[in-house]
Amino acid sequence: MTGPDEPTDGTDGGSTAGGDPGARSRTDGGDPADRPPLEAARYPDGSVTYPPHPVGPDGEAPVGTVDLSERTATVVTWTTSTAPPPGVPAPNHLAIVEFDVDGQPVRALGQLTTGDVGVGDEVEPVYAAELREPGAGIREPESQDWDGYRFRPVE
């Protein structure tokens, strides 16, 4: 089953919704060519989730993916954590942000590059090769990825 207006497979590379992506590096460490997508899943009912799940809210498997890394998002809320856990630099600025994917709101949570933000600000994903020191905390280092995207205010 697929929705009538949705892609049935493959990756929707998305589009840059604001700013000039070439103006500032979207990578903080590592080779930009190795940068993975900030991948969300699209489901038959048209909904999109980050992160992807084996099945979507409608109980059906994804029919495609959306790369959020070249899009911009809006800050829903943010905090600065002064007592982060092992392997995380203090202070740790965090936000829930919302992307607009063809009219579908898609939220993500991630570190901010700065604490100088406000609700409603526009931010862009910036790749980081290591968001947190693997093995410093309780979780088995091999059990998950440690790279990903921080969010930086769009100038």
């Binding site: 989730t49 980050y50 992160p51 829903v76 809320t77 943010w78 905090t79 600065t80 954590s81 002064t82 007592a83 982060p84 856990p85 092992p86 392997g87 995380v88 740790n92 965090l94 936000a95 829930i96 939220r107 993500a108 949570l109 991630g110 570190q111 604490g115 609700v119 968001l131 947190r132 905390g137 309780i138 979780r139 059990s143 998950q144 990825d145 440690w146 990903g148």
Partner: protein
């Protein structure tokens, strides 16, 4: 189906229990609970232990087996109930279910956690290990979820920052009269507002402490309860519901609503044939001050966006219309993860049987809401006096 009664209850002192470990803490509460009910250990048919992380904190697993042996409750059926911070509430559910189903006519539930030998950062990380990998790698902690949600709540409902401090002040005030509480000192709104930032806009006094401790409850069918408890002076679980929300917190459309609280309470109210207005006293999961607002709204006590007014106006104070957290709550009493949901019911048993001493309020109907993760899993329980 015969009603399920609680015929015994106990809790240890909550706090930094230096030199005590999980086995000893569980055994202390378990023994005291059996003694409270006058029930021999060999009468216990089912034994549940609510605990989140004894393996991660201490390297001790298999705690239900250990406790059954230490209490001489062999050969009782045993199981560990883990629902993170809501392990205690989930244990109440499991114990209720074991008796309601007829599988057991005497079920002991003991909840406990040993945490304070770990640093704050380590303990926070053990708790944060419940998060999804895309959250964990960003260093997200439960306190940071609280900061994110508090900012949204204060902005959306135009609530003053002081309203959060008023929850901390109230619950510290209640804790002064609780001999089991970790903190037994009053604080002021100014102290709360001047304390160090932990997860902006939340400060130190918006958070519960890290705690060692345990609590226990003994469940039996009401017909058995009458054999052990004179004058029907026991408490009955008249309604109980459990529910689960998204694992990934940011996928919820409105972070200021805890769907698990809404849905579990709807089930509990219906089973008890009660409404929010019928509740006389409640123990809520105030791991962070903001959670008292969210739960008091999602349980139907107040309209959405209005719960922040309650503490400041005295509505939820001990002498108010709806006393909340007469025990001092997690904020003042402390939060030994697996014990907290059990200790909430311990307080309500005391309130409903008139044994709460200086904390006593007028109450016929009590409600406990125990939350795991950041609203990820919830048990809501309605309790009333027997007979």
């Amino acid at each position: 189906m015969e009603r399920v009664a609680i015929i015994g209850s106990s809790m240890t002192e909550f706090g930094a229990r230096e030199g005590e470990w999980i086995r000893g803490l569980l055994a202390q509460a378990g023994q005291a609970c059996l003694a409270d009910a006058g029930v021999d250990p060999d009468a216990v048919e089912h034994l549940y232990v609510s605990n989140m992380a004894s393996g991660e904190f201490e390297g001790q697993t298999g705690v239900p087996n250990a406790l059954a042996h230490d209490l001489s409750a062999l050969p009782a059926y045993t199981a560990r109930i883990d629902q993170t911070s809501a392990s205690g509430g989930a244990g109440v559910y499991a114990a209720w279910q074991s008796v309601a189903s007829g599988a057991s006519s005497m079920t002991l539930l003991v909840g406990g956690e040993k945490m304070t030998h770990r640093s704050t950062a380590e303990a926070t990380d053990v708790i944060a290990s419940l998060t999804h990998p895309v959250e964990y790698k960003h260093g997200v902690t439960l306190p940071s979820f609280a900061g994110l949600t508090a900012r949204l709540y204060l902005d959306e409902y135009d609530a003053p920052r002081e309203s959060l401090a008023e929850v901390a002040v109230k619950n510290h005030r209640n804790g002064v009269d609780n001999p089991h509480a970790q903190f037994r000192k009053e604080i002021t709104v100014e102290q709360a507002l001047d304390s160090p930032i932990v997860a902006d806009p939340l400060r130190l006094y918006d958070f519960c402490p890290i705690t060692d401790g345990s609590a226990a409850l003994l469940f039996a069918p009401e017909s058995v309860a009458r054999e052990y408890v004179p004058d029907d002076d026991y408490v009955v679980v008249t309604g109980i519901g459990g529910a689960t929300d998204t694992h990934v917190v940011h996928e919820r459309p409105d972070p200021t609503t805890m769907r698990g609280v809404v849905e579990s309470s709807e089930v509990a109210y219906e089973m008890a044939d009660r409404e929010p207005d019928d509740v006389d006293v409640a123990e809520l999961h105030d791991m962070f001050t903001i959670l008292e607002f969210l739960q008091s709204e999602d349980l139907g006590f107040f309209e959405k966006g209005e719960g922040w007014r309650a503490a400041g106006e005295g509505v939820t104070a001990r002498d108010g219309d709806l006393p909340i957290n007469t025990s001092g709550g997690l904020k003042s009493k402390g939060h030994p993860l697996g014990a907290s949901g059990v200790a909430q019911v311990y307080e309500l048993v005391a309130q409903l049987t008139g044994t709460a001493g200086p904390r006593q309020v007028e109450a016929d109907v009590g409600l406990a809401c125990n939350v795991g993760g950041f609203g990820n899993c919830v048990t809501t329980t309605v309790l009333e006096g027997g007979a």
